[in-house]
């Protein structure tokens, strides 16, 4: 079990750090709540449950790109440790690995994964299988309200 | 040179494929010329291969060309491989040669037919199958060719399938041939069972190695002979050939006279090393042959239809060939086969020319005096008559003489029947020739029979008969020349018996005739006299008159009533049996099938409920399956 000691210490340290941060902010931050401050909105009806938050799907894309490079870096660490022993072979393999990731990155960028502005490519917004008939069925005589 | 052997097969196959794809676009007559060209090219490759074979020393004239493995099952390995030896080359040469001429003839004969290109598609496929049959080095591939020619024959007999008679004739040919094929198949099983091979050379080696006992050889030969009887239209399986005349005339010439029907003779000749050790089988073959020869010749004397006479004549001549095979005179059989191919093809093409010129009239009683209108056809027809009748020095005289000599040496009664048949042969073809080309022009007074329902393509009516175009008469002339000179192949003089020498490595030599020179000449002279007698009888009896009821009894016209008998015994009782079987089928078999189907449906309807569409259920199913398999396998563990 000796070899797990480091892990255990890390866990304890992490927990301590988190607990310390929360306590510190609670203690140090000014806290003067009023009724108006605690309401979600300062006007209108008081909601009885939190509304679902909406994220742009791009957020996930960026997160995934980040993970890819994250993993690359994770691989780079052990590689760097024994790089001197691997010599040219190691360099070549890592270049191949990095190239694969870069190609994927280039593909993603060219497809607009990092564009935050309005969409450039116009995708049909209407379902492909939608016809006049289905639209009528979806919108009964009463209109949308129904 | 010898390596060109595969081309003999490949070229007709290529012709078939090209015609099948582009034939309709090529149209009339380009498709016909393409078909003829493919066969002519095959003929040239056969010549080249032949030259290669000639270059070898006589004893080692055998070449096997392995093209590719076809299939194998256990110890049975069937390659697509060719056996090039004198026998197969003789067959290949005359098949491609005659087929080229008949293709050329068909270019003219079939003109205007709505299915023009289809005809040549079938014809090329037929030639390919026939060549596969003769060039194969094993029984299985031969059987493939055997079935191939059968299928083509079926398609071509019923080529004008909108005529009910043609359609039923095709069916008839098919069924009669199936009866024979059963024999062929069982023989193959038997031979494979005993020798573990179906390669010809290996079978003969096994025979010499003593792996085949006498009774086995006899049974195998008799079974193969059953196949040959079907294919070569011998008693009792010949009625289909007479009905096969419903097909276009070039088909009758190529398939039902020159080539396909001789496949049985070829097969028996190929198997001659086996025949040599089985006297029983030989006697059966010879007897069936000679009896068929006589019976068919007699029936031919009473026929009214120009092609039916020739059909019976073909059956009769094939009987002669089997007589020769049974008498161990294989060279004589092949000699007669080649000679017969020439003059019988000529007769059929001549008949076709007449039918063509007479606007689809086939009744010889409604013809007469045509020699004035169709001089080339008439002249070549007369040559063919004299050749088949055995008038010296034409091909038929030497070929038939050879057969009869051997028959004399084998069994006297066969010789006697054979000689009588020779008389009839010269007579009935003479009767036909005289009625068609000589005498009064009866067609002027009698008018056509039933030309309206015969829908050959060329039904455009013009009054007088006319000679056929050059593309049709050219083959006639070539075949006439071959019929005259064919005897040169194998003259009974020492040093001039080319065919005997050529075939000697393949077939066992003919029994050394213990006949003195004088006896031989006497026999040959008897043949000649009989032939001339037949010719004289025909001219004398039919020159002036066309109705001699006494000479045309009804039972002969009906072919000894064999067709009717077959129909009554087999077809009708067969139909009754089939009705009973069909009843049983609906009750028992269908009941079982429907029961299974119902059970499957029911089971399926229950089982599909498991397929819920919910991933959680699927995952549960997989998990349960895992647990069961895990539990089972781990339970086997020695924990």
């Amino acid at each position: 079990m000796e070899q797990y000691l480091g892990v255990f210490v890390l866990i304890v340290l992490g927990a301590l750090f988190a607990a310390l941060s929360f306590t510190a902010s609670r203690l140090l931050g000014p806290s003067k709540p009023t009724v108006a401050k605690r309401a979600p909105y300062e006007c209108g009806i008081v909601p009885n449950l939190e509304p679902v938050q909406r994220f742009p799907v791009r957020f996930y894309l960026v997160a995934m790109i980040f993970i890819i490079f994250d993993i690359e870096v994770v691989f780079l660490y052990p590689w760097a440790v024994i790089y001197s022993q691997l010599r040219l072979f190691g360099l070549a393999e890592m270049v191949v690995f990095a190239a694969a990731v870069v190609v994927a990155f280039a593909y993603l960028v060219s497809n607009g994964a990092l564009d935050w502005g309005p969409r450039k490519r116009i995708q049909p917004t209407v379902s492909y299988e939608r016809t006049a008939e289905t639209t009528l069925r979806r919108l009964p005589p009463g209109g949308r309200a129904a | 040179m010898l390596q060109a052997a595969f081309l003999i097969l490949a070229l007709p196959l290529a012709g078939f494929v090209l015609l099948a794809i582009f034939g309709r676009r090529l149209g009339d007559p380009a498709a016909g010329y393409l078909g003829a060209l493919a066969i002519a090219a095959a003929f040239v490759s056969a010549l080249v291969t032949w030259a290669g074979l000639l270059a070898l020393p006589s004893a080692s004239r055998q070449y096997q060309q392995h093209l590719f493995g076809w299939f194998s099952a256990g110890s049975l390995k069937v390659p697509v491989a060719l056996l090039v030896d004198p026998l197969s080359m003789t067959m290949a040469l005359f098949v491609t040669g005659v087929a080229t001429l008949i293709h050329l003839y068909s270019v003219g004969y079939m003109r205007g037919d709505p299915q023009y290109s289809k005809f040549f598609v079938y014809l090329n496929l037929f030639v390919f199958s026939m060549l596969t049959l003769v060039l194969s080095n094993n029984l299985v591939l031969t059987f493939l060719g055997w079935e191939g020619v059968g299928a083509c024959s079926y398609w071509l007999i019923s080529f004008w399938f909108h005529r009910p008679s043609a359609a039923s004739a095709g069916k008839k040919a098919f069924i009669y041939n199936r009866v024979g094929d059963v024999g062929f198949l069982v023989a193959m099983f038997l031979i494979f069972d005993k020798t573990h091979t179906l390669n010809y050379t290996a079978i003969f080696a096994a025979l010499h190695g003593g792996m085949l006992s006498g009774p086995v050889v006899t049974v195998a030969l008799l079974l193969l002979f059953l196949g040959a009887v079907g294919k070569s239209a011998q008693i009792p399986l010949y009625p289909w050939l007479v009905d096969a005349m419903e097909g276009p005339t070039p088909v009758s010439a190529l398939i039902h006279a020159a080539t396909m029907v001789t496949a049985g003779v070829y097969l028996m000749t190929r198997m001659s090393p086996l025949l040599a050790v089985s006297q029983t089988a030989s006697v059966v073959v010879a007897s069936v042959g000679v009896i068929t020869a006589f019976v068919a010749a007699a029936a031919a004397c009473a026929q009214q239809d120009i092609k039916r006479v020739l059909a019976y004549s073909t059956v009769s001549q094939l009987g002669y060939m089997f007589l020769a095979v049974g008498a161990h005179a294989y060279v004589a059989a092949i000699f007669l086969m080649v000679a017969h191919a020439f003059y019988k093809a000529l007769l059929f093409l001549g008949a076709g020319s007449v039918i063509h010129g007479m606007h689809d009239e086939q009744d010889i009683k409604r013809m007469g005096g045509l020699r004035r209108y169709m001089p080339v056809t008439a002249a070549t027809f007369v040559v063919a008559w004299l050749a088949i009748g055995g008038v010296p020095p034409l091909a038929g005289f030497w070929a038939k003489g050879d057969v009869l000599l051997n028959a004399w040496a084998d069994a006297r009664w066969m010789w006697a029947v054979g000689l009588l048949t020779a008389l009839l042969t010269a007579y009935y073809i003479g009767r036909e020739t005289v009625l068609v080309f000589y005498g009064p022009e009866r067609w002027r007074s009698l008018g056509p029979t039933s030309a309206s329902d015969r829908s050959d393509a060329h039904g455009n009516a013009s009054s007088d008969p006319h000679e056929a175009p050059a593309v049709m008469t050219l083959p006639l002339v070539v075949l006439a020349a071959a019929s005259v000179l064919g005897g040169l192949l194998n003259l009974p003089f020492s040093g001039m018996d080319v065919l005997t020498h050529w075939l000697s490595p393949v077939v066992t030599a003919p029994r050394i005739l213990s006949l003195g020179v004088s006896a031989r000449w006497t026999l040959e002279a008897a043949d000649a006299v009989v032939a001339l007698l037949g010719v004289a009888l025909a001219v004398g009896l039919w020159r002036k008159r066309s109705d001699r009821q006494a000479l045309e009894p009804h039972w002969l016209l009906a072919g000894w009533g064999l067709d009717e008998a077959m129909d009554r015994i087999f077809a009708r009782s067969g139909t009754r049996l089939a009705a009973v079987a069909a009843d049983g089928d609906t009750r028992v078999i269908d009941g079982a099938v429907m029961g299974v189907a119902r059970a499957v449906r029911y089971g399926g309807a229950r089982l599909r409920l498991l397929q819920s569409g919910y991933v959680r259920n699927y995952a549960l199913g997989i998990a349960l399956g895992t647990v069961v398999i895990l539990g089972y396998i781990v339970s086997r563990a020695a924990l």
């Binding site: 691997l86 497809n111 299988e129 | 076809w70 429907m594 189907a597 119902r598 499957v600 569409g613 398999i629």
Partner: protein
């Protein structure tokens, strides 16, 4: 990997030995880069590029086949086995990859997709399959399995406008991840029992040691069987396949049914026959049961379907039963029967789904049996090719299907598994009914009718329809997986009128190749048969 302190053994990598895999992995990279730099042009260039890459990969496989001869060796530190078996299968995968690219081309044109994604993912997936067939280590098998599967999950979802496609991908993904986990657990247990994940070393360990307490080893083996059994869709791990096959775009279904199964069988051969051949008596009964279940359930459920893609899914389950029967015999005859069956099946199933892709029309919607009515009068060549392919699958003589089934049954008989042989033949008969039903429909008259028409009207076999209590009702909710599919879309697809549409160029080529191969190799079986025998002779 194994880092040894001090001197590090750098593995010698013979790149030529993994050339097919390298091509199949490198080509998509090039294609993605290409697509990143250029924007114009349709899917034609991707198709052309993929076909070229497939040909290259095929030639590389041939090169390996010729070079390796009967002397197999290992490459990349024992992680890759180079032998004729792997070369044979990479050849098949290369062919499947090329055929898939052709089908994907027609699909992309029809659905107005111009990206390189579909062919690129196909190649990646094929590279994973090749890796599975060539794997010399259980970890490499897993690596190949994941490369292949992850690409397939995305490919299944490729039809973004069709909800069923997304549903298929999600089901496939969730269940696939589930089975991967089981497979991985199996590897871990095997490692625990034998101390290695290398296939050759497992074999030699088992051959030289008697494992007294073999519970862990057998549990590991059972889990490996389950993991691969999922990939080949053997009953009871088949439940995903009808839904996924039905929902995925048809070219993807074609690829999936051919490649994923073949790779699964290749891995089963590697794991069971090669690594655990000595445990034969333990795994044979399990495979036997899987085979029987697949044959029976696949056969029976085939018959009651009306959606042709679903039918083909069930029939391919019964095909899997046949291959498992060959595997179960654990003999040389069984191995060559397996290789032959896989090769023949690949061509037949890709061709069949090619037709389904054509008939399906935009969005792959018209897959009801009625949509196939009169296909032969609309497109005689397509109808004829489909007939050949269906008869081949039914096992009609003079097709590769007949020989494949024949060799499987004779391998089973040679092993003494008579019951299995009988079940296999009965299943062939039952599924033949379904194939013939489609064939009859192909040549039947075209009736412009909706599936909601009176029951029985569309049934080509009126004699049998009477026995079905619910000819129409049961195609509804429980079968479709309607949890996700809204009623609206279902209705919209059902009322689609059959239109005569052009047959795409790629589809035509694929059909011609597959149908011709099915007949030619059925009439002249020696070449493929000899290849299959040579591929499996050394073990």
């Amino acid at each position: 990997m194994a880092v040894i302190a001090g001197a590090l053994a750098i593995p010698h990598i013979s790149y030529i030995s993994i050339l097919p895999e390298l091509i199949a992995m490198g080509a998509p990279m090039v294609m993605l880069l290409w697509s990143a730099t250029t924007r114009s042009g349709g899917p034609g260039r991707w198709t052309a590029f993929t076909v070229v890459a497939s040909v290259a990969a095929f030639l590389a496989s041939v090169e390996i086949w010729v070079k390796v001869g009967t002397h197999p060796y290992t490459a990349v530190a024992g992680a890759i086995l180079v032998d004729r078996f792997s070369a044979f299968l990479s050849g098949i995968f290369a062919v499947a990859m090329g055929l898939f690219a052709l089908l994907a081309h027609d699909w992309a044109v029809r659905e107005d997709e111009s990206g390189p994604e579909l062919p690129a993912l196909g190649m990646l997936s094929a590279s994973g399959a090749m890796l599975m067939a060539a794997a010399g280590d259980l970890v490499v098998v897993f690596l190949g399995l994941e490369i292949m599967s992850i690409a397939l999950y995305v490919m299944a979802a490729m039809n973004r406008r069709r909800l069923a496609s997304g549903e298929a991908a999600l089901k496939y993904f969730v269940l696939g991840a589930f089975s991967s986990a089981i497979f991985l657990y199996g590897i871990a247990l095997t490692y625990g029992a034998t101390g290695t994940t290398n296939i050759a070393r497992i074999a030699s360990y088992l051959a030289s040691n008697v494992v007294v307490s073999n519970g862990v080893l057998l549990a590991g083996m059972a889990m490996l069987i389950v993991g691969l059994g999922f990939k080949v869709a053997a009953v009871p791990f088949h439940t995903w396949s009808p839904d996924v096959y039905q929902g995925s775009p048809s070219p993807v279904t074609a690829f999936m049914s051919a490649v994923a199964k073949a790779a699964g069988f290749a891995a089963l051969v590697r794991v069971l026959m090669e690594a655990m051949g000595t445990l034969r008596l333990d795994w044979q009964p399990a495979i036997y049961v899987l085979a029987v279940l697949s044959l029976v359930v696949g056969g029976i459920l085939t018959v009651v379907q009306r959606d042709v893609k679903r039918m083909l899914a069930y029939s391919s389950i019964s095909h899997a039963g046949f291959v498992l029967a060959a595997l179960q015999s654990a003999s040389a005859a069984g191995r060559s029967a397996l290789a032959y069956y896989v090769a023949a099946y690949t061509l037949m199933i890709i061709g069949s789904f090619a037709v389904a892709g054509h008939v399906g029309g935009p969005g792959d919607r018209s897959q009801d049996l009625s949509s196939y009515r009169g296909l032969s009068s609309r497109h005689p060549a397509v109808g004829f090719a489909f007939t050949i392919l269906l008869l081949g699958q039914a096992g009609a003589p003079f097709t590769t299907g007949f020989l494949a089934k024949f060799y499987v049954v004779s391998a089973a008989v040679g092993n003494g598994s008579y019951t299995l042989a009988v079940v296999a033949m009965l299943s062939a008969v039952v599924t033949a009914f379904f194939y013939l039903r489609i064939v009859l429909g192909l040549y039947g008259s075209e009736e412009p009718s909706t599936p909601e028409g009176p029951p029985g009207v569309l049934e080509p076999q009126p004699a049998l329809v009477g026995s079905v209590g619910e000819p129409q009702a049961s195609h509804g909710a429980e079968e479709r997986g309607s949890v996700v599919v809204p009623e609206v879309l279902v209705a919209a697809s059902a009322t689609q009128v059959i239109e005569v549409s052009e047959v795409g160029a790629g589809t035509s080529v694929v059909l011609a190749l597959c149908a011709a191969a099915t007949v030619v190799l059925g009439v002249w079986p020696s070449p493929l048969l000899d290849l299959a025998k040579a591929a499996t002779i050394i073990f």
